[in-house]
Symmetry: C2
């Protein structure tokens, strides 16, 4: 256990300082080397499904910064796409899908297609894991959590408050339950494939968990996540699982029941609160404001100190509370890493 | 004190059951009588600044449903508009303002204009208060809280995450502090005028409070709100003040230091958590999911019960966690009120 990589040690419940560090969207548009690769493909989906290029952009931030974890370059909407729902990314507008609004619309989803569709993603995982073999960097696989993926599938794209999916959850509970069941099973299958291809841990992104009321949060966030965690742990007992219930806020204590090994904190989460309600057997991860990273300088330094303070003495992984934004200066990322790695226990 | 209206008694810290009830955006597009009035004016600002019509739409839901509170029909962007920043409402897109991005842009704001500009709003307050004189309905005045108003002023409109204003708060702290100081003073003046015109309580809407990290939440939400509460209480010791720090989530305990008499809970707030961290001397208000009101029926009934359960035995005002949406069936509102008023202590 002491030979494990620093990132995995935190997920095993070990407190260590300085903490391991990676950043959500560390492979992204703020890096000139990413933009150069992105320019070689016609669209975002092509980048996700071209193993050579997806592996390259996954590895770029590791080479530049030596992060403790690399995260598979992919998208949370790979699962609906692999199940057969059409998916396009419109520049500057985000994803577009033909929305699922009733029982008939569910017919487009075919679980039998999944494995063949995601084969290129698995090849990316194999390539990245091989490239990381001589390093102490951990490879993170991931999927969107069922509720968040359902949000995009039902709305047909992004939304400020996902009112349509919430209305469906209340007014068409059977249709919504059927969609969620399909997604739970597909997510288990997809994560299982990633682990078999070489992912050393997996993360469930539930970006819109916090738009639900507490009763619906239990039903559509906690329970599906618990089922996925149970199924993956059954097949892969040593693979830790990270959950990121974004905007879960005061519902965080409920999320502990999912059984995850680590919990991501979004920017609005008070780290001192999370440290108080999440048992020390579970790692916390987060939650610097990405806009503080844009600002840099004294403002960044002060915000990093404020995040670190309540995390000492417990298993913890430094990260942002949301993805890096494109206008971030890469030098600020280097300064951030230096500050975190120089911080005193 | 026992003669006070039910709504005000809750804000005085008295637990009573069934709780008083009103709904955010109760005067709005879901009501046919509202749509009829709205059709008589060219734009939203004209409706806010035509006292006869603004008073009429304020009173419509009181006549139809007998709510325990009426809220002045107006908008949180009245203050920047009254200070001299141009404001338009684009149908289907929301507000548009010429953005404030540096110290020079602040020159457009002239506090000396405020009182004359908001005179029509005060006439609305006078009219509504007179119309409510024979009822037990309380008149709520309101303003946007400085941080949320600054969000729109700096972005130039709405935004999913208000990244520009957060970047300004980090990278141009002096410019942002000057803007916030202007807004704190203007908000005090504006609320003071509303109370002198007849508002029996005032509410501060901080719709975007939760996009800030904890250190910035203290600086730009808690501290400005505390200063406004102190100034208003100094001038009007018997007027209770409600704060609505939307998305404040786990930062709610910090908000208690503002000194407000009541705190609004958004839909994502767990009422049981709020009941645990907010002293019983402060009323809680909220937080039914507006989409449950759209659904109606059993789903609505179950969600209402879940909200009510942790609120018994403490001062409490029933409300939604966000505004009523236009597609709401007015009959569902009547059913909601009947359920709340029939609930057993």
């Amino acid at each position: 256990m002491t030979d494990a990589k620093p990132f995995l040690r935190a997920l095993m419940g070990q407190a260590a300082w300085p903490p391991p560090i990676w950043l959500m969207r560390q492979a992204g548009r703020y890096l000139p080397e990413y933009r150069a690769v992105r320019a070689r493909v016609p669209d975002f989906i092509s980048l996700c499904t071209t193993p050579e290029l997806a592996a390259e952009v996954t590895l770029q931030p590791i080479r530049r910064y030596g992060f403790d974890a690399a995260i598979l370059f992919s998208d949370i909407l790979v699962v609906p796409w692999a199940l057969g729902q059409d998916l396009r990314f419109v520049e500057g507008e985000g994803p577009r899908l033909p929305p699922i609004r009733d029982a008939d619309d569910l017919a487009v989803l075919d679980p039998a297609r999944l494995e063949a569709s995601v084969a290129p993603v698995m090849e990316t995982v194999v390539r990245v894991r091989a490239a990381l073999s001589s390093t102490s960097t951990t490879l993170i696989g991931f999927a969107g959590a069922p509720f968040t993926v359902a949000c995009y599938m039902v709305e047909g794209g992004g939304s400020r408050d996902f009112a349509t999916v919430r209305a469906m959850a209340y007014a068409q509970p059977e249709v919504f339950a059927a969609l969620m069941e399909t997604l739970v099973q597909a997510t288990i299958a997809y994560l299982d494939l990633q682990i078999r291809a070489g992912a050393e841990t997996v993360m469930l992104f539930d970006s819109w968990a916090g738009v639900l009321s507490p009763p619906l949060f239990d039903r559509h966030v906690v329970e599906p996540t618990r089922r996925i965690v149970t199924a993956i742990r059954d097949r892969h007992p040593t693979i830790p699982i990270i959950g990121f219930p974004r905007l879960a806020s005061t519902m965080l204590p409920r999320y502990v029941a999912t059984g995850v090994n680590g919990i991501g904190m979004d920017t609005g989460m008070d780290p001192a609160y999370a440290a108080g309600v999440v048992p020390k057997s579970i790692a916390l991860q987060g939650n610097l404001d990405p806009m503080a990273l844009v600002a840099g300088g004294d403002a960044l330094h002060a915000e990093v100190d404020a995040v670190l303070a309540p995390m000492r003495g417990r298993p913890y992984i430094f990260n942002l509370g949301h993805g890096i934004v494109p206008q971030t200066n890469p030098d600020h990322v280097a300064a951030l890493i230096a500050q975190v790695r120089a911080s005193k226990a």
